[in-house]
Symmetry: C2
Subunit: 225 residues, 2 copies
DNA sequence: ACCTCAAATTTGTAGGATGATTGGTTCATT
DNA sequence: AATGAACCAATCATCCTACAAATTTGAGGT
């Protein structure tokens, strides 16, 4: 019986791992061009095939992007976003909204428990931005402020994994939401719920925070139908 | 302005796409061995390098797994799991538990709303298995039954994305949970909460289902401290 | 029946050759 | 001098052959 399933890593996996480290450590900055194949072959001391299989893996995962004739560039430091995007595209907006509901409810609950002074200031800033955009009837600005508000709420949860999941999901979901944005009939209701949510988080009223999230998600579900 | 960013797909990307389709459509069943490289070279009419880069991409994404000397096998139909697991491994058990809380609470809520007769039968089967394992003091069997019960609950939500996320999370969390399993002092309490949860779902009592989830997650958090 | 070892199968790695794309340079024409 | 065509260099894309390493299979001998 083997203690480790696959104790020995293949050369390709080793190269992939090294490149991942280079990206995550920031040694290869996002957006920058990485050395050409021939240089990397010498650097890692592997054949062209091995290197290319490693590069191609990371391209598929969304960490790198290659452009023929130009070079290979660092695109992202996390593979989660691309994978999420692929998966969400296969899901209905309804399903995605329910998962978003799960994350936002938890985020609001934790935010109400753990928000610190810095969080409160950010929340107040963004809810004010929402109000101003609503008064100015600037739908585009309102959407942007709304997204920033939601991200601030999630950040107040102080759970990095939760924040990460939400951010990657947000990227993918935003486009879909945008389509429905025009029909925001009662933005005032939408805004009032958000105000209520922010107040609940600041007051550390967990139940009211959760109820607020349930409220605007329910409102959203009506739109979709 | 380019209508399509990269209108032309590379050969590797085309092969990847075709293989993805074969997997998602079920033509290549999960767990089955795919044709050897030489056959696929003829099938897709590409060189070995091109094919291998495509295969390697899907291996990295977690859809395939290659074993030297044996062959290549279909591991999963979703790339989300691997990316998710990679991210989870960088998180603390506490953070992961809170995200699990988010998913399980939502799963329980939706299950209480949408569970059908088939779901009820599965739930009853697995809760009975839990009880039997508890009576027999068989910790290992209890853990397995517990996992199956939780998966059944999630499946009752009838949200494929939610189920997908939970399943992949479950895999990563299970090991960590296993470490703490020995100290399950009050398994009876744990079991009673689960019974309560299943009853609530069957009775379509949404609030009681949510409270049950909150209950055993809170119990879990105590263990971690 | 059991063991040994060679052959076949399959993936892993290496290295070379050529094509395709991009960006820049050179140079002749206007 | 400005323009544009032709050329060239860098880089990735694809294909090819060859050999190595791991696994399974089966023939052959004990």
């Amino acid at each position: 019986m083997s203690i480790s399933k696959t104790n020995r890593l293949s050369l390709v996996e080793q190269v992939v791992s090294q490149i991942e480290t280079l990206i995550e450590s920031g040694e290869w900055e996002i957006g920058s061009q990485i050395p050409p194949e021939m240089d990397l072959i010498k650097q890692f001391d592997v054949s062209r095939n091995t290197l290319r299989e490693a590069i191609r893996s990371l391209v598929y995962a969304g960490l790198l992007i290659t452009k023929q004739g130009k070079g290979t560039f660092v695109k992202s430091s996390s593979a989660l976003g691309v994978a999420f995007q692929r998966r969400i595209q296969q899901s209905s907006l309804f399903e995605t909204l329910e998962v978003r509901h799960a994350l936002e409810r938890q985020g609001a609950q934790l935010a109400a428990i753990r928000r610190d002074q810095e969080d409160i200031e950010k929340l107040r800033f963004h809810i004010t931005a929402c109000q101003k955009a609503a008064e100015a009837k600037d739908i585009k600005a309102y959407e942007e402020a709304d997204i920033q508000l939601h991200k601030s709420i999630m950040c107040s949860s102080h759970n990095a994994l939760l924040i990460d999941l939400y951010e990657h999901m947000e990227d993918s979901v935003h486009d879909s939401i945008h389509q429905l944005a025009g029909m925001s009939s009662d933005a005032t209701l939408h805004l009032s719920i958000h105000c209520n949510l922010v107040e609940a988080i600041i007051d550390q009223d967990v139940n009211r925070a959760i109820d607020s999230v349930n409220g605007y998600i329910a409102q959203f579900k009506k739109f979709i139908d």
